[in-house]
């Protein structure tokens, strides 16, 4: 019957569409791997991991990824140390304290923070936050990890808040009522009952915040500088993995050259970081779901 055939054809078309997502993943891994492999035929993996300089675009070439990784981690830690306390306090407040009306107005407004394009945040970091911080810290460079990190932190507040709030909301009400019945204040209930009970969800929000910050590009490309430097000093220009990829792409690098391959080796490093973090969070979420269902 033709009707049956149409049904079959449609099912196959739909299945093919779903397959595109798998092909995307395979494509990403294949592209990163194949270019990285040919990169590592020219540069030893030991130099890549241990050299303390990254200068592929200069005459004296060094291929140590560490300065880029340190730059990435530095901005990431600054961002998370801004976003985590703020995001968590907001989540607890909105979930345990706030009047319904306040919650209903403030939450969507805060989500605007996540909708603003990152290039716009870059402008903000460079033109507003850095000059402001320079009035407090006079030796702060025009490009630095500090203001890029802080602004990135503000951007990821809504991520931390919404994931943590979901986790808090998922805690059975009986636990909360039990704590209140024993005479606990809202603060005691929040920190001794709700937060511990929601800890796995909160951990997930932190991991995702890290992953998000590691992959962020435009804020650091605009405001953190383009100088690969192995340092923990947030006041000087640095370069992140993502910024390096952008820097090379803006220039005129011929396909097949070693410089061209470096962006894939850098991309591979970035991918490995975020892939591990995302999968840890995925694993925790699965465990967590089992706990309460």
């Amino acid at each position: 019957m033709s009707n049956k055939n149409t049904e079959k054809i449609i099912e196959w078309l739909l299945r093919l569409s779903a397959l595109v997502t798998v092909l995307t993943t395979i494509g990403i891994i294949w592209v990163l791997l194949s270019e990285s492999v040919s990169f590592f035929q020219q540069v030893s993996i030991i130099e890549f991991l241990t050299d303390t300089q990254w200068t592929p675009l200069y005459k004296d070439k060094h291929f140590g990824i560490m300065p880029l990784v340190s730059g990435t981690l530095l901005t990431t830690f600054i961002a998370v140390s801004v976003a985590l306390p703020l995001g968590l306090v907001i989540a607890i407040y909105l979930s345990e304290y706030a009047p319904k009306k306040f919650r209903k107005t403030v939450k969507p407004l805060l989500e605007i923070l996540a909708a603003v394009p990152t290039v716009v945040y870059g402008f903000f970091a460079l033109m507003v936050v850095t000059p402001f911080l320079q009035t407090i810290i006079p030796n702060l460079s025009g490009f630095n990890a500090l203001s890029a990190g802080i602004v990135m932190g503000i951007m990821i507040i809504p991520f931390v808040t919404s994931f943590s709030e979901d986790a808090l909301q998922a805690v059975p009400k009986s636990l909360k009522h039990g704590a209140f019945a024993l005479g606990s204040t809202r603060l005691q209930t929040s920190f001794r009952v709700m937060v511990p009970a929601a800890s796995s969800g909160i951990v997930v929000s932190v991991i995702l915040a890290f992953s998000r910050a590691i992959g962020e590009t435009m804020i650091v490309a605009i405001a953190a500088g383009q100088q690969p430097r192995l340092t923990a000093n947030p006041l000087v220009p640095i370069e992140t993995i993502t910024t390096y990829i952008v820097q090379v792409s803006l220039g005129d690098v011929p396909h097949g050259s070693l410089e061209y391959k470096t962006i894939f080796a850098a991309g591979m490093t970035l991918f490995v970081f975020t892939f591990i973090l995302n999968n840890i969070s995925f694993w925790i979420r699965k465990k967590f779901r089992e706990k309460y269902d």
Binding site: R15, T21, I90, L109, A115, F123, T242, I263, F271
Partner: protein, 285 residues
Amino acid sequence: MTNSRKNRLKDKGFEYLGVACSLFGLVVLAIFIGDILADGLSRIDWDFLKSLPSRKPEKAGIFTAWTGSLWILVFTTIIAFPLAVSAGIYLEEYGGNGRWSSLLEVNISNLAGVPSIIYGLLGLEIFVRIFKMGNSVLAGAFALALLILPIIIVATREAIRTVPPSIRAASYALGATKWQTIWNQVLPASMGGIFTGVILAISRAVGETAPLIIVGALAYVPFAPSSPMDEFTVMPIQIFNWVSRPQHGFTVNAAAAIIILLLITFVMNGIAVYLRNKWQKKINW
């Protein structure tokens, strides 16, 4: 002071801290928008929208940038929308609970966590080089389409899931086939949710910069694209380019372009929120 009084004080203290933190985010947002408006609002006029890029800041405009963004958006949507909605339907209606569908699910949530710049590298190698699209609108649109697939897929699935099984059962009882049921009952009922997801995904795509830089969108394009195979630039890249220049005139231009970009983003998000609310109110099975 008794212990319980102390605890009550701490409790009140945290309440104020909570309000302060919530307002902090909003105040930062307000300062930021205020600053941008003060810098750029006076720069916006028809000439700014109609002018080509220029080395002189007071002559430069965003015509190539916004037309480029429009081209990219149209093609990204054309590519991503049917693919993502089909994939969402497949996962929800045909997927079942087997190993294959749980693999698909893990895969999609992993894709959603891949940094956008990686999609740029994917696009550079696959679309620009292997498929020989060059640094064209089409190559950029393909890269962005893959980037927003997970967002639309997740939205589609959530929207479909809210359609109760009784609707499907009723349709089957009237003799409809599976696809007829999906096409005539499930999809119309979940369109609101799907469109909300699509609009949010597009608004994300409008603001994306990094993947398009990697794919080879240029900072300086003398003409607006007239075919999908043309070179292009987009609003965020134009902003990035102007921010990177030392002259004050370009900073003003960047602020002006940001106002327009934010306007587009906020309007889209507003429409999405409006659709979501309207759709939630309308449907009560």
